[in-house]
Symmetry: C2
Subunit: 684 residues, 2 copies
């Protein structure tokens, strides 16, 4: 069997993940050794093996290999929901990842995976297999299917599935119509928070968040966890999520999200996800209005944590920030300096196994998610599963995600506020002045972004178990924008060619009352739009940069990539980097929604000295086109500056407005984001 064939067989395991191995998967019939068949299906084994070869599927014969010990891993039931916030689940996934990593070769891995497939919880199985495939040298070129196809239940209104089944059963293949998800199904406009539901519930945003945490696992050993500046990237990518959310709120006449700091009072935001878990065969529980966080005691998941524990962890972390150092497990002090401090703090807060002292600083961010996710049944009296906030894949749908992360971010900002301020000299780039910038959108006035609604289709049939094959599409509506470009005029008055990093950010022009910003409030509102290297010849330079080149986003097609189309050639560089590149902000949400009459925003552009930004590494073959929030696969974060630079610190004395903050290598352009309330039909 060729290596390529084995890789394709591994991909077939993502097809209808709850169906047993003896069912045809992606047109492959797996012939597994007798001892691989579970007790449940032993009695039908004869009947089953007779079925082989009856259809046009390809037979894949699986070798018998020494079987791994799954005893621990099976303590998570096949029909339970799975969450990487639950320490027990993290440990189980770390074990399974390591079983998969230790397989001698892909064929061996395939055999072990086939054995595990019918036994292990399907969410856990797919997660652990994905992490292993991404991190194994001999499988990293394999294309992992989009999670939306494997587990569509985590993304789509539960009604879609019955409608899809009806369509698949009743209507012949060629005549099927897409199942349309209504734009407002989780709430009505009577609910203020629902105004930004289109953003929270966007499929691309939630896929990005899942992919981010797939690329940055918290547990499983250094081979999967230890990555350059990952703690800092945890801080920055989530800071940007909050900033982007706030921007979207402003566009919808909502004020900034309030930090969730009262952990003992009622939470006013309710959320009714209207999602069913196809594995757990239960709906995701809702959170009604005015619930209060409670001490958790969930014996089935080994979770026991008090609100007071959370308060103690929080206060110890604040104390460490005030002290300027943390205490490691062995009692030694580790300074929180201006280079690595934020990274250490990120590992502590998240927390991953890279945290220098989980005992002392706990698991503040993770247990916050858990406490909120079990708020409806905190002592498991009612045997309830966790809510959407307890699962990376679904967490961003819930308004409480942003209140929680606004608190988390505030801890990081507390630390950033303790760092030395950048001087004007540090910020400036002698000899480089930006003299002009404008935004060009075709058929629009200068400095205008244009947004609208776009419909797109995605095939859900791979994730719907126990149906006849054949596609059925789900049609959803999402925000989109017209492509645009930045045109930047830069004067190089220095001697010779200069290299720089162009950094582009966008923020609302005023606060939610229409008042001018103080710099220190506006700086945390800036969302990164792009970052790229520029080479400046002497004299005037005109830089044109297209929106689609953004270092923040991945193209729409990659977010919703279909396994069956546009598949890169085997062995190509493109294929090699495919999985990592699934991480990236969805391009269709690069620009906030704006308003019909034009939301006023400020575009900030800076060119910093590349000599101070440069990271020495060979990026050929790496996927770095969404590096800003996702980093570079297997490499260093490709910008030496602290993430969020230059907005990551409190401004120097006197720079109390954005204008006063500017040095010669920066410029601000007032602009407008105009939203057109029309819906464009699918492209295809």
């Amino acid at each position: 069997m060729s290596n390529t064939a084995v890789l394709n067989d591994l991909v077939a395991l993502y097809d209808r993940p709850t169906e047993p191995m003896f069912r045809v998967k992606a047109k492959k019939s797996f012939k597994v050794p007798k001892e691989y068949v579970t007790d449940r299906f032993k009695n039908v084994a004869v009947e089953i093996s007779n079925r082989f070869g009856e259809d046009d599927s390809e037979t894949v014969t699986i070798d018998s290999v020494p079987l791994p010990d799954l005893a621990d891993i099976l303590t998570l039931g096949r029909e339970e929901n799975f969450s990487l916030f639950i320490p027990k689940h993290r440990n189980l996934s770390a074990k399974l990842i390591n079983i998969f990593l230790q397989a001698e070769n892909p064929k061996h891995l395939l055999s072990i995976a086939c054995y595990a497939h019918d036994r292990v919880n399907p969410y856990l199985f797919i997660y652990a297999l994905s992490v292993a495939l991404i991190h194994r040298k001999d499988t990293k070129s394999l294309k992992i299917p989009n999670q939306i196809q494997t587990f569509p239940d985590k993304y789509f209104d539960s009604q879609v599935f019955s409608q899809g089944k009806e369509e698949m059963t009743v209507v012949p293949q060629g005549l099927r119509r897409p199942i349309e998800i209504p734009r407002d199904y989780t709430a009505s406009d009577l609910e203020e928070e629902h105004r930004v539901a289109y953003w929270r519930e966007d499929l691309g945003i939630n896929l990005h968040h899942w992919h981010w945490h797939l690329v940055y696992p918290t547990d499983g050993g250094e081979i999967v966890t230890k990555k350059d500046r990952r703690g800092e990237l945890f801080y920055y990518s989530h800071q940007q999520i909050v900033a982007r959310y706030n921007f979207e709120r402003f566009c919808n006449a909502l004020k900034r999200v309030e930090r969730l700091t009262d952990w003992q009072g009622p939470i006013k935001e309710a959320y009714f996800p209207k999602l069913d878990s196809l594995v757990a065969k239960r709906a995701y529980p809702a959170r009604v209005q005015d619930m209060t966080m409670q001490d958790l005691d969930i014996p089935g998941q080994n979770i026991k944590v008090d609100v007071d524990d959370m308060i103690r962890w929080r206060d110890r972390i604040y104390r460490a920030i005030a002290d300027g150092f943390i205490t490691a497990t062995n009692g030694s002090k580790m300074n929180l300096d201006d280079v690595t401090g934020i990274d250490i703090l990120g590992n502590i807060m998240e927390s991953s196994e890279l945290s220098p002292n989980r005992q002392l600083y706990g698991n503040l961010h993770g247990f916050g998610h858990l406490m909120l996710s079990y708020i409806h049944d905190p002592r498991s009296h009612h045997l309830e599963p966790f809510g959407v906030i307890g699962d990376f894949t679904t967490a961003m749908r819930d308004p409480i995600f942003y209140r929680w992360h606004a608190f988390v971010d505030d801890v990081f900002q507390q630390f950033n506020g303790s760092l030395p301020r950048y001087t004007a000299e540090q910020l400036d780039y002698a000899g480089v002045q930006i003299t002009d910038v404008n935004i060009k959108t075709p058929n629009a006035p200068d400095n205008e972004f244009r947004t609208f609604w776009q419909q797109s289709d995605v095939d859900m049939s791979r994730g719907v178990d126990f149906q006849d094959p054949g596609s059925v599409f789900v049609r959803f509506t999402h925000l989109n924008h017209e492509p645009f470009s930045y045109n930047i005029t830069v004067n190089n008055t220095g001697n010779g060619v200069q290299e720089g990093t162009c950094r582009i950010f966008l923020a609302p022009a005023t606060d939610e009352r229409g008042n001018p910003w103080l710099f220190n409030n506006q700086r945390v509102m800036f969302v990164e739009m792009d970052r790229f290297k520029v080479t400046l010849r002497q004299g005037q330079n005109t830089i044109t940069r297209n929106s689609t080149q953004s270092s923040v986003t991945i193209p729409f097609e990659r977010t919703f990539r279909d396994l069956d189309t546009n598949r890169p050639a085997e062995g190509s560089e493109e294929l090699d980097i495919f999985n990592f590149c699934g991480c990236g902000w969805p391009h269709h949400l690069l620009v906030p929604k704006g308003t019909p009459d034009g939301f006023k925003a400020q575009l900030f552009v800076m060119i910093s000295n590349y000599a101070d930004d440069k990271v020495e590494q060979d990026l050929s073959g790496s996927c770095n086109d969404a590096e800003s929030y996702c980093g570079v696969r297997g490499g260093k974060y490709p910008d030496k500056r602290p993430m969020g630079y230059p907005f990551n610190r409190v401004a120097r004395q006197g720079a109390d407005t954005l204008q006063r903050f500017l040095t010669g290598n920066m410029i601000v352009q007032n602009c407008r984001i105009v939203h057109s309330d029309r819906t464009v039909r699918p492209r295809s």
Copy 2:
């Protein structure tokens, strides 16, 4: 086409009710006129008609008839949940019932029903068709399928369906194993209220409650609503539910259920139903701990009611009781006397269209259900459906049902307390003395009931849409008891043969603290066990009565009857009375659970003078073997006494204990209910 054939075709409409008419139903292919096909499937019509005749199904050609106007009826969406507590839904069902009632003959009805089937909400369709079939002269002999087979989603843990689909798809017919519902899936024993979940969530109890309300619709015109003493029966059947629930609570060391009288404070009982609606394609929402009833404003269902409205209705009803009369719509006074008062009050409270003044007295019982069912989203901000308490089929699962009905019952008790007390002479039956009674259970000491756990299987495949045919069974565990008999010794000292009504009740021997009862507290705890006519010759008579003869219950086989087995012969009396007889307390819950060491209870037996009990009517061909809670089909309630007699009134002066209450024609026997915690496997 014979009439019998048409009736069978009508029954086929209960098969997989959400699947369109062009799908094979119960091995019948319906060929409907072109204009019956919905727009949605018009484009596949050619493809569909080509399929006819490809399988072994029988073709049923449907006549084209003038089409009914369904415009109003279609304002309830096909994927909404349906509730007879919602006035809009009641009105829509009344309209559809009347369309079905007005069809000229069964063939005409079949055609109209086929047209409506693919358009109307499936729950509404099946309800209206059922009421029409029960009340039409030419269709009343037709067997309506058990609701558990048509809508199993309203009865089974949602996990059962995915498991069942897996079984149906993966395992060949002969090798399928039943899907087992765990005994404790809605909560754990940490939750006190869960101790009686086996009873609240019993399939038979919920089927009974559905069937009761199917037989007694609240709206649809007098042809379906006006039935002898229906208001009184509403009171009595629900009073007995509360009494039986309290008995069950005592057996599980829980105190009596508290009336829900604080309508503005938090409700401590939470309930997580873990049911999915297969029509609404949504989970039934949960009610978390400490929620408070809110003013309802559900525009989509035309519901607008304040808690204050409820308080006004309640206070007007209390006022009417105090006054001894109600005010009718025309302003006239109607006395609440000791014969018809309770019936009027029942119609007011329920309320049905028989209420003499819905404007003044409102819809207290019904809107209480609604207010509780929308407690999680009272203003529909989150577009949530109602909870289980908002649907007759599922309401009895929720602990709050009993708190609400304890309040409702208390209003009736307030009225009963205002009635003249029975004198000893009125209660006595001169010349008839009961000298002894004992309970005989085989292999048990005298006066001992024996209960245990029983498993049973029911086929769920008819209710699972879009699957290949073939059975799959659900196995559930329910309470059961050993058959027993009463042996009653009666002395007739009068002249000649005497006729009497033997009334048997059972109540806990003491209150929840083990203290002796005051009669007025114990009397509302008595649950009716049986009521039957006796003929007493002069001298000593020994009456033996088997538990299976109870006038309260229907046999297990009838509760869970399977359409395909034990089908009565066409045209037989048995068939004629089949539908009505689906109403009846499930026999397996005749006896409360008891305790392992023997729960102490008191059996009360009375023989009243048949001359005062007798109702003149011909009962031949009627189903009256569960008459106590369900009445007699098309006839009068077969007992002239007020329902609940002799416990329906406050006792006469001096009769402050049960012993003192006794007259010569009554007897009390101390007994024990012994529960054995073993599980008996299914019978078949």
